[in-house]
Amino acid sequence: MLDIEDLQVLRDQQPLRYSLQVQRGEILAIQGRSGVGKTTLLDCIAGFASAHCGRLDWQGQSLLGLGAAQRPVSMLFQDHNLFEHLSIADNLSLGLSATLPKETLQSALDTLEVAELLARRPTELSGGQRQRIALIRTLLRPEPIVLLDEPFAELDPHSRQRATDWTRRTAKAAQKTLLMVTHQYEDVQQVADRAIMLLGIT
């Protein structure tokens, strides 16, 4: 279980406060107005923003003392998810476990219709294509916690349908604990088990 209790993060001198619990294998959608602190919450879980008090436990162990590279977390940022100077294939290989079956990756590429792009550079891709590549890598990495920051924002309705389906299927099959920031009601419906609304009461 991911247990967050009275976690306080300073953002621009303003304290943000979070309390929530997510069961192992659960998919949680986080909603709320812009600027309410959704990304900050994900950053804090991933170790990119530091909490000054409160609790952040995973399976009973605190994560707060760990650096970003030590946490059991795979995160999809809003942007800069790909190294622009490396090919898509190289980008995908980063952070994936060597034991990941080739077929799993191939089927993900096929499902999300990006298998043709492997030899290209990120600059040659559209925003939606980049987002799908990054999504695949984030979910297939061997981390139990997955954080997605507006993962489907740049997708057309067709791709969106496929991406949401694949995300839910993959997360459930691998028992991932998934937190997803989104503004779209359909995303919540199609992917999440549960949704919370951050209200920004400090």
């Binding site: 991933a46 990119f48 590279a69 795979s74 995160m75 940022f77 622009e84 980063l94 990120p122």
Partner: protein, 522 residues
């Protein structure tokens, strides 16, 4: 990884510290070498400090201001004729050995200079004009390159947005161009200021008399002719304090460089109007001519030498040694620069900006530490302990490496910072190890590394100061040979050898430009 970085930083610091230790600890007359504080109230000392600051400030200001329109012309008109060669010429001018520069400028602007007749009766190269011309010649090309690079970091999206919002020329300048240049400008000013502040032979040769005396001259005199170590130390600390604090201040004011992410490769810049394009071409041609003329002015002098009787073989070995030393020192400096940058990058990602700034300053401190003091200090420290007639060349390489380190750091840092800004979170999130990290950074850094290596090579190839102290005559380098020729009436041979050195430098620039282009296309 961090440990390696600390070690590298410690090494470059240790060289300076040991040098000062060598000077402070040296005891020739039974009295300890203390500071000579009487000097601080000496009127001569004040005028020297003031002149050093004045000429360096003016030189830096002129170089930056004059470089700006040329950099803009290059930025807005990518199709200029021989643009890439011009940029290579800029590198060459920046590393021009003083011997060649002085000869070239005098051949051009001296009393019998080729263009002096057009400059009017009152024209006199010697004095502040000469110093400024020489310093601008050395540093303007460098400033052009840096400013151009900064302009090129403006993301396309900014220009597209500017076009959408129908911003006028002034607004574009104020809202887009200036923010891209501002931070870099301060740092560039500091950099050029320090280079001119430490200038020596140019100042004396073209300065016209003792009015034009820099701290570096005073240090040379006290260390070499008077062997007055307390005085030398006082002067060295003064120099370190002034240049060092200014450098630190400007770095701090400049803050983090404003660097866009290179997410797109198609460059969309606003097309200037026809009149503006003509102006750009004119500016470009003027700058190219100004850089080329002092070099072309050397040719008549060389033609006077009987080239058939010239001993080409005598030059081959020194030329080879020069390249070899420069290659080792250059490689070392690049590796050292990468390592010394690790602590500051680490501090920056941790959000500890003051610490990062300190690390940055430390990694470039050799720029402000007087070179003469560092080499002589080490010489004093090592000579009684080590057979320097035997190991001297090792220290020639080592000291060259340490003294060009700041340039290597300056070259690599912006690119590494850009990498960190764009990808540090991703790298950490992907839990990449050191090797994997290097594997990813290398393709990103490759071009910067190649360009920097060329620059390191050229800088190390021009050294005479270190060689004059640690070098051994069995391993004479080409620049030292040139000074040897010039010091024994053989001005003709010296100018031929100089031109040859220049040609080798040009060849290096050309080769690397080619190589770089190949990398770009790949």
């Amino acid at each position: 990884m961090l440990a390696a970085g600390m070690l590298a930083l410690g090494f470059s610091l240790a060289v300076t510290v040991l040098a000062f230790y060598g000077l402070i600890g040296f005891d020739s007359s039974g009295t300890e070498s203390r500071l000579d504080t009487r000097l601080l109230s000496d009127g001569y000392f004040h005028s020297v400090v003031w002149f050093s600051i004045k000429q360096a400030g003016l030189s830096a200001l002129l170089a930056l201001v004059l470089a700006w329109p040329v950099a803009r012309a290059l930025y807005y008109s990518p199709g200029l004729w021989l643009r890439q060669s011009f940029l290579s010429l800029c590198v060459l001018s920046f590393v021009m050995p003083t011997l060649i520069l002085i000869t070239g400028l005098v051949a051009l602007l001296g009393r019998q200079g080729l263009i002096s007749p057009w400059l009017g009766q009152d024209w006199n190269l010697y004095g502040l004009p000469g110093i400024l011309i020489a310093h601008v010649y050395l540093n303007l090309p460098f400033a052009i390159r840096v400013q151009l690079l900064q302009l090129q970091h403006i993301p396309d999206s900014s220009w597209k947005l500017a076009a959408q919002l129908k911003l006028g020329a002034w607004q574009r300048l104020r809202l887009i161009e200036w923010p891209a240049l501002r931070a870099g400008m301060l740092q560039l000013f500091g950099f050029v200021f320090v280079l001119c502040f430490n200038s020596f032979a140019v100042v004396l040769a073209l300065g016209g008399g003792p009015r034009a005396t820099t701290l570096e001259v005073a240090i040379y005199q006290s260390l070499k002719y008077d062997f007055n170590i307390p005085e030398a130390l006082t002067l060295a600390w003064t120099q370190l304090l002034i240049a060092g604090s200014l450098f630190l201040l400007l770095n701090r004011l400049g803050g983090n460089q404003w660097l866009g992410v290179d997410s797109t490769q198609q460059h969309w810049t606003p097309k200037p109007g026809a009149a503006m394009q003509r102006l750009h071409r004119l500016l470009y041609a003027t700058a190219a001519l100004a850089l080329l003329l002092p070099l072309l002015a050397l040719v008549p002098g060389v033609l006077q030498v009987n080239l058939a009787r010239f001993d080409w073989l005598a030059i081959a070995r020194p030329a080879f040694i020069t390249l070899l030393i420069a290659a080792i020192a250059g490689t070392g400096a690049l590796l050292l620069a990468y390592a010394t940058l690790l602590p500051s990058r680490f501090a920056r990602t941790e959000g500890r900006n003051t610490l990062a700034l300190l690390c940055d300053w430390l990694s470039t401190h050799a720029l402000v530490a007087p070179a003469m003091v560092v080499s002589v200090g080490l010489y004093i420290l090592l000579l009684p302990r080590l057979d320097l007639d035997h190991w001297g060349m090792l220290f020639v390489v080592l000291l060259n490496m340490v003294l060009i380190l700041p340039y290597a750091v300056q070259q690599l840092r912006p690119r590494l910072l850009q990498f960190d800004r764009q990808y540090e979170r991703l790298v950490r999130s992907l839990k990449l190890g050191f090797q994997e990290r290097l594997r990813i950074e290398w393709p990103y850094m490759r071009r910067a590394c190649i360009t920097s290596f060329a620059l390191m090579l050229l800088l190390a190839m021009g050294d005479v100061a270190i060689f004059s102290i640690f070098g051994t005559s069995d391993w004479t380098t080409l620049p030292w040979l040139i000074y040897g020729y010039a010091g024994t009436y053989r001005m003709g041979e010296a100018s031929v050898a100089s031109l040859l050195l220049l040609l080798i430098c040009a060849l290096v620039v050309w080769l690397f430009q080619h190589f770089e282009k190949g990398q770009q296309d790949a």
